[in-house]
């Protein structure tokens, strides 16, 4: 199935919702409202013809004032096609329904996204720190997170090419 056809299937499923589909580098990217994020993933997994039964990863993206993006990559071993399902949660209310009921493997990915970006996954069975030490404070992959070493000593090299 081509990326365009995959996008059309999701558009038909979420008729009338704020949904965007695009194809980037041969992979379909579907942006859905956060209320329908778990529905879209369930649809992708259970619909015949799509069969996205392989959960690859789930992670976050700090999109500054736009909010926090959450993106998951699914793969279909039957058809060999991919899809990226993404959503955006606002900065002041970073909540999202958990996917761990759909894909059990999403459990640890959501814990990591929670500790790194502060996105709370409602309904997660065990939302505790995964990689960081217990006493760690803050969400280190947020752009606003201050690296104390960098405050004391600025980055010694160039940040951008040509600087």
């Amino acid at each position: 199935m081509t990326p365009e056809e995959i996008g059309q299937r999701f558009t038909a499923f979420l008729e009338g919702e704020a949904i965007e589909t695009e194809s980037s580098y041969g992979t379909a990217t579907v942006t859905v409202p956060r209320e329908r994020f778990a529905d879209a993933v369930t649809f992708a997994k259970t619909t015949r013809g799509l069969d996205f039964t392989f959960f690859d990863f789930l992670t976050g993206v700090d999109e500054a004032d736009n909010g926090y993006g959450v993106v998951t990559h699914l793969y279909s071993p039957i058809h060999g096609h991919h899809v990226l399902i993404r959503t955006v949660v606002p900065n002041d209310d970073p909540h999202l329904p958990s996917l761990s009921g759909v894909f059990a493997g999403a459990n640890w990915h959501e814990r990591e996204t929670w500790e790194m970006f502060g996105v709370v996954f409602d309904g997660h069975p065990n939302l505790v720190k995964l990689l960081l030490s217990d006493e760690f404070e803050g969400h280190p992959l947020r752009k606003e997170f201050l690296l104390t070493s960098r405050v004391v000593k600025p980055w010694p090299g160039a940040k951008e090419p040509g600087e």
Partner: protein, 170 residues
């Protein structure tokens, strides 16, 4: 430690004891990252640190004399390193192998990396490099052995009271 930290052993006996100790270093490899590969290369036939009396792959920290911390130490891992160090019997030595174990190395600004293993346990020899070549570890081992040959257990332990073991390490 018994008597050896109470009285200075006579010089000929001290020489023999130190000589025996320096050529029988059971080593406990705390491999945390790519430097551990260099450590393993040093233990294999090409570089072969057994010819220096360093015996690799001690069965556990309780059988080891030397701990080589090779790789990136994170804050999450730090309590485990300290605990295993405390389980080693005295006299014990530590080689910090590679830039990450020395000072954090390329992760100097990271939120999760401990800036040097010497922040949690005492280090005898630092081996610089990213990662250091096996020859550098051999040089570090020879350096440690010359330190062991010259050391006095009385001076090493008399001034220092026995470390308070963490409750779970007993």
């Amino acid at each position: 430690m018994g008597l050896s930290d109470q009285v200075e052993v006579p010089q000929p006996i001290k020489f023999v004891l130190n000589w025996g100790r320096k050529y029988s270093l059971w080593v406990f490899n705390f491999g945390l990252a790519c430097c551990a590969i260099e450590f393993i290369a040093t233990s294999m036939s090409q570089h072969d640190f057994i010819r220096l009396g360093v015996i690799p792959f001690a069965h556990g920290p309780r059988q080891a004399d030397l701990m080589v911390v090779s790789g990136t130490l994170t804050d999450k891992m730090a309590p485990a390193v300290k605990r295993l160090y405390e389980q080693m019997p005295d006299p014990k030595y530590v080689i910090s192998f590679g830039s990450c174990a020395n000072c954090g190395g390329p992760y100097w600004d990271s939120y999760s990396v401990t800036k040097g293993v010497d922040q949690i346990i005492p280090v005898d020899v630092y081996v610089p490099g990213c990662p250091p070549r096996p020859e550098a570890l051999l040089q570090g081992i020879i350096k440690l052995q010359s330190q062991i040959q010259d050391e006095s257990l009385k001076q090493r332990y008399a001034a220092k009271p026995a470390p308070e073991l963490a409750a779970e390490a007993r």
